[in-house]
């Protein structure tokens, strides 16, 4: 067995040694994380510093690696759904959707129409809660404490609404192969209807207090410029790509479910910097509200789970499929291969945060350390999703 330990140096571990091999003379190797507030969990970044400037940076992953892809091979497809709520805990609904969507595609299962609407509503609500949490936490990174209190106040109402049908507040495993677990009842629908005008009344205040604030603008404008070509080379999607002017959203470009029925815009920004990504996420909150509003209006009566829906022991027919959805962080893709056996043969999870973070090394080069942290936050990472 290969041991990747470098015995020449004593300080640091394998990754520090590996990183230090390419270091220039007179520079400082600095370790950020994995227990650092601005790494939002357990991300670790090793940087080579020349004074205050970052010469090189390398994210080190794996501190939250749980091998979901192996778990998919030792459980039946239906038993794997709870794992999907734990990959990206901030936008669990999108992961739920990506996985059941891939399995439904192989098996050719049609979802009842009402279930499609329920999926859209819950997924978009979850997207808003994810963006709100990102907003609060990002400002916390930048030194503003108050906004996260407001964000959590709004988010609380939203979680209360989602708790009614799902029974959970964070790690939802609500989708089922062939529909969803439970219908939205009047209590839940009432909460959602009340939430839309509430959040709309708050957004102008956030704009005045935070978005237009000169301190914030000085902090996030013109840092972390990402060119569209860079997004292609690294496979960056979601608000990171849209913040660089790429008009790409899976809901529009590869429509799934019933997204083609709704009228909504894809916000983009030509700024390409951290501010561009900030603007895109803030604008997306309003677009999600628009989708929810239309979905509530158009939602038909009916079942939310297809008749004869697969039981937990159900075997997925042989075949392969790739299903992508738009998560809060970008394109979530699930590639499923089945040989018709008890468990899935192979499940590959494409995490948008993984690809978005991979460009950090290139983008942070030459910036001040404090800006590198602001760039890191603007990528909106969720570590469990990156490590899977």
């Amino acid at each position: 067995m290969t041991r990747y330990i470098d015995t020449e140096q004593t300080a640091g571990d394998f990754y520090t040694h590996n990183f230090a091999k390419k270091a220039q003379e007179g520079t400082l190797i600095l370790n950020l994380g994995p227990q650092h507030p601005s790494t939002h969990g357990v991300l670790r970044v090793v940087v080579e510093m020349d004074g205050e400037y970052v010469l090189r940076a390398e994210p080190i992953l794996g501190y939250l690696h749980r091998m979901h892809e192996k778990m998919a091979e030792v459980k039946t497809a239906a038993q794997f759904i709870p794992n999907m709520g734990r990959v990206d805990y901030l936008h669990a609904m999108a992961w739920n959707w990506a996985f059941v969507g891939a399995v439904e595609k192989i098996a050719g299962i049609e979802v009842p129409e009402r279930a499609e609407y329920v999926r859209v509503i819950t997924c978009e609500l979850n997207r808003i809660s994810s963006h709100l949490l990102w907003w609060g936490a990002y400002l916390l990174d930048l030194g503003a404490f108050t906004p996260i209190m407001y964000a959590f106040d709004d988010r609380e109402k939203l979680l209360d609404a989602l708790q009614v049908p799902t029974g959970s507040r964070l790690t939802y495993s609500y989708f089922r192969i062939g529909g969803v677990a439970q219908d939205l009842n009047d209590d839940c629908l009432g909460r959602i209807r009340a939430f839309i005008p509430w959040l709309r009344s708050r957004m102008p205040m956030y704009k005045d207090l935070v978005t237009d604030n000169i301190i914030l603008r000085k902090r996030i404008e013109d840092i972390g410029v990402i060119e569209p070509e860079l997004c292609r080379r690294y496979g960056a999607t979601g608000p990171v790509a849209r913040g660089s002017g790429i008009n790409y959203d899976v809901r529009r470009n590869e429509p799934y479910g019933i997204y083609s029925k709704f009228d909504f815009d894809i916000p983009t920004s030509e700024l390409k910097c951290a501010r561009g990504r900030y603007d895109v996420r803030m604008a997306e909150i309003e677009q999600s509200l628009r989708i929810i509003e239309q979905a509530l209006e158009m939602m038909p009566e009916g079942d939310v789970l297809v008749k004869g829906a697969p039981k937990p022991s159900w075997k997925v027919p042989a075949g392969e499929s790739y299903f992508a959805v738009e998560g809060a962080r970008g394109k979530i893709g699930v590639y499923v291969v089945s040989d018709g056996g008890k468990n899935l043969y192979r499940t590959k999870l494409r995490a948008p945060g993984f690809c978005n973070l991979s460009l950090f090394g290139e983008v942070s080069r030459g910036t001040i350390l404090a800006d590198a942290v602001a760039i890191l936050g603007s990528l909106d990472m969720v570590i469990p999703e990156i490590d899977r």
Binding site: M67, G108, E254, Y322, A324, G341, K348, R388
Partner: protein, 177 residues
């Protein structure tokens, strides 16, 4: 796509059924053509979605997914490498994002990507990084010809027999229902 990949040595090229498999084009190609195929995809403004491997009877099937921001339609490149010598050339110098995907595939399956600029373990602890958790035991491996959708064939090298070995394999994509 056939125009894009023209002149490259391919084993198999097929149109996929996007509604059923999520793949617009599927190509099996030898490792030697992979870099040039990726280069052309990069020039045609494709972006990399992911890289992964599937452990099959024939060997490790290394799967590359690409997509396009303006003209959606997933392109899947597949390279079959033998279990005994799982070596593939790296495409990280073209698609920088592939560096991490390749390292992850090394962690899970032990596939070696020759030329990856930083080929160290990514997700698994370096001290136990040679456990390759997604490798399968010989008896539980399935044939790639049976589990992968053949699609609508555009080109097939006479020497490439993955989908012609026996007739049930042909129907694996469709007949599964």
């Amino acid at each position: 796509m056939d125009a894009l990949l023209k002149g490259l040595k391919l084993d198999y090229l097929a149109r996929g059924d996007f509604a059923k498999t999520g793949q617009a084009w599927v190509a099996f190609l030898p490792g030697a053509s992979l870099v040039r195929a990726s280069e052309r995809l990069l020039k045609a403004d494709y972006y990399i979605e992911d890289v992964c491997a599937v452990d099959c009877v024939e060997g490790y099937v290394v799967v590359y997914h690409f997509d396009h921001f303006e003209k959606p339609g997933r392109v899947t490149l597949k390279v079959i490498v033998p279990h005994a010598a799982p070596n593939v050339p790296s495409i990280a110098h073209l698609f920088d994002g592939a560096e991490w995907h390749e390292r992850e595939t090394r962690d899970f399956h032990g596939v070696q990507f020759i030329g990856n600029p930083n080929f160290v373990p990514l997700l698994i602890d370096p001290e136990m990084a040679d456990c390759f958790p997604l490798r399968k035991e010989e008896k539980s491996r399935s044939s790639a010809g049976k589990i992968m959708a053949p699609g609508e064939v555009v080109f097939c090298d006479p020497a490439f027999t993955l989908f012609v070995a026996d007739s049930p394999a042909e129907a694996a994509g469709e007949g599964a229902k």
